[in-house]
Every structure is written in C-alpha cells, then in structure tokens.
C-alpha cells in the first residue's frame, strides 16, 4: 500500500452538507469519501492505494480535478484498488455531485 497526500490552496467553492461515500473498494475501483472541513479555503486529498509507484499519475489526476472544481474547505479520502485515472476522475466528480446534490452539474 502507498499513502499520498495532496493539498490545493485557495479554492473558490466551499462545500457544505453531510459526508458522502461513492464507489466500492473492489478490483479496478475505489471509494471516495468527501466531507466539508475547516481548512482555510484549501482542499485536502488523501489517497491510500494498492498500486504502488503511481504518484506522478495521481498528482496529474488530482491537479485536473482541482482545476475543474476549485473546491474549498473540503476533505477527500480515497481507498483505491488499482482504478484507472479515468475511473478516478469520474468517481471524484460523482463524489462532488453527491455532496452538492447537483447530478451532472459541471463547474
């Protein structure tokens, strides 16, 4: 297992509401827990993944995600079992949409 931490400062979109969990920790899949947290406008993401050595890929996927949503005061925790970058991106979008209640809502 490998644990990766990401923090993006100065988001524009603070999150509210009850914590949400989307996805399942199965092969090629992941679960994403998203919840509001007082982080001085930042978005923190912690990834625990079974696929070791893909830090650069995660960095790129997370940077894309932050560019899309600009979340503020949000904590995201991920348990991953080797999901592809596309699946990770879709799950992250699904997590944000489940918290905001805006299915299909785009930034």
């Amino acid at each position: 297992m490998e644990t990766l931490q990401f923090r993006f400062e100065q988001g524009a979109r603070p999150m509210q509401g009850k914590p949400q969990l989307v996805g399942v920790v199965g092969s090629g899949n992941l679960e994403v827990l998203i919840e509001p947290a007082p982080l001085n406008g930042a978005c923190e993401i912690e990834v625990r993944t079974a696929a070791v050595g893909f830090g650069a890929t995660w960095q790129a996927v997370m940077a894309d995600f932050h560019a899309r949503w600009q979340l503020a005061d949000t904590r995201i925790c991920i348990n991953d079992m080797g999901a592809t970058p596309a699946v990770v991106s879709l799950r992250l979008d699904q997590a944000v949409e489940s918290l905001t209640g805006q299915i299909g809502g785009r930034p």
Binding site: L21, E31, T49, C77, N79
Partner: protein, 301 residues
Amino acid sequence: MSYLELTARQRIPVIFDAGSFEEFLPPAARIASPHLAQLDAPVSFDDGVVVGRGRLDGRLVYGAAQEGGFMGGAVGEVHGAKLVGMLRRAIDEGADAVLLLLESGGVRLHEANAGLIAVSEVMRAMLDAREAGIPVVAIVGGANGCFGGMGISARCANTVIMSEEGRLAMSGPEVIETANGVEEFDSRDRALVWRTTGGKHRYLMGDCQVLVPDDTAAFRLAAIRAIEEIRAAGARLTLDELLTEQAMLARRIDLAEGAAEPMELWKRLGIAEPASVPMLDADAFLALAAGHRVQAGQGER
C-alpha cells in the same frame, strides 16, 4: 430496477422508505479493519457493511446491507461487530423488525478467528432478536450470493427472500471443486452452479420461503409482507418449529438419495419437465412450484 446490479449503499434507500434510513457508524467515522491494515491490504471506511435504522412501510425497521464488491462481502471483526451491534440495538430499542440485505462469501479469511467469532455472534444476535419477538427477514439477491457462515446466518432468519439470481449455500462452488475435485463439482458450469445454489432450487428445497423477480420493488413488497406475516404468527424460534425443520431435513436426505444433480430432485418432487425450470420467469416458476416444494410441516411428496 435490478436489485442485483445495485451496491449495498444504493439498495438501502430503495428498499427502505426513501430518506428514512439513519446509518450507525457511517463511513465518515472511519471504523475500518485493523487486521487488513496490518496485512497492508486495502480497507473500506465502512468495512463493507451499512447498518442502521429506518422505516419500512412506516414501521421502525433496523437493517444492514453487505457490500459484495468489497472482499466479496466477507465478514471481518468490524463488519461482524457492526451487524451484532445493530441487532442488539434493535432489541434494546424495540424495533418492529430487522431486515438484512445479505451478500457475502462468509468469513473474511484474512481475519481468521476474529471473523469466525463475529459470524457466530451474528447468528446468536439474530436468534436473540427473534426471542425478543422481533421478526428477522433476510434478502439474498446480490451477484456474490450468500455463502459460508452468512449462508448459515441467513437460515437463522424467520424468512429468506431470494431472486432466481441470488445464491445461498454453505461452501461455494470453487471451494467444493478445490476440496473434492472437478468430478464432484465443476464450478465453471454456471448452469449447474445456479441449479444447485440459485433461488429456484432453494425455493423448491424449502431454504427460501419467498421467491421474487430481480426487482427492487418486488423485494421491498415481499419484505413488508413477510414482516406482517411473522408479526401475526410470532417471531420466536420454538422447539416445535425446530423439530418440524429437522423432520423436513430428514425428508430431504431421503429425497436426495443417490441423486447426482438437482434436476433429479425436482423430478422426484413431481415436476414433469425439470429441464424447463431454469428458463421459467418468476411467475411461471411459482405456479409450477406450488405443490412440488419441500416445506417444513408439510408432506410435499
């Protein structure tokens, strides 16, 4: 809507009254398995099970949903403790019923004895709930089936509701093949696997009392009806009921004497064309099965 294709977390709001379910120890509490972490294996924030209480047709019903996608729904120490805690709380708080959405391969082998003890505690807690007069209903309709210790647990419920696609058994197909050889059981023969463990066979053999199509509304309605019927008849497990069940099992052993394949049993139960059974939809099957089922307390032959 297909029940089979939903995750545990998606099943809860469509089976219980919409928006009524309150989860105990939700994912944000992060009560994950300490054993998996020690083994450097992936964990899940809910350890593969949702537990809580909600409303079912207005009644106060405690419940759980196992996630087959996480380690095959297998029961570890935390997963089992969540089930037991929910059942004990149902007793303490006077629940109208308990509804278990089961999907599990049984004990999580990574957690060995802790998982075994957890499953035995689940069984005891289910029987304690029944002793307190609380109906316990199990639904088996997920892709991973219900096997091992959870297969036994399911049969501790008052009523088991299945779809044809659901599977209920002790040892899974691959386990039997590994232990006894492919001549004994070919786990890659999917038709054989469903003939042996699927909902239709379980219904004919008396292990499942209600068979429904793979549809969330059908499962929900069957659960509501089962709870009503159990409340009217009494949820407690009595000695008479155990003796009746034992007699049914003895008749089943006689029925299976020398048979090598479930279709032989169906034929012995009086079904003229057993080969047609797997192709029937739920309604046609139920019409055919009436009068040809093994049922506790009834002479089926």
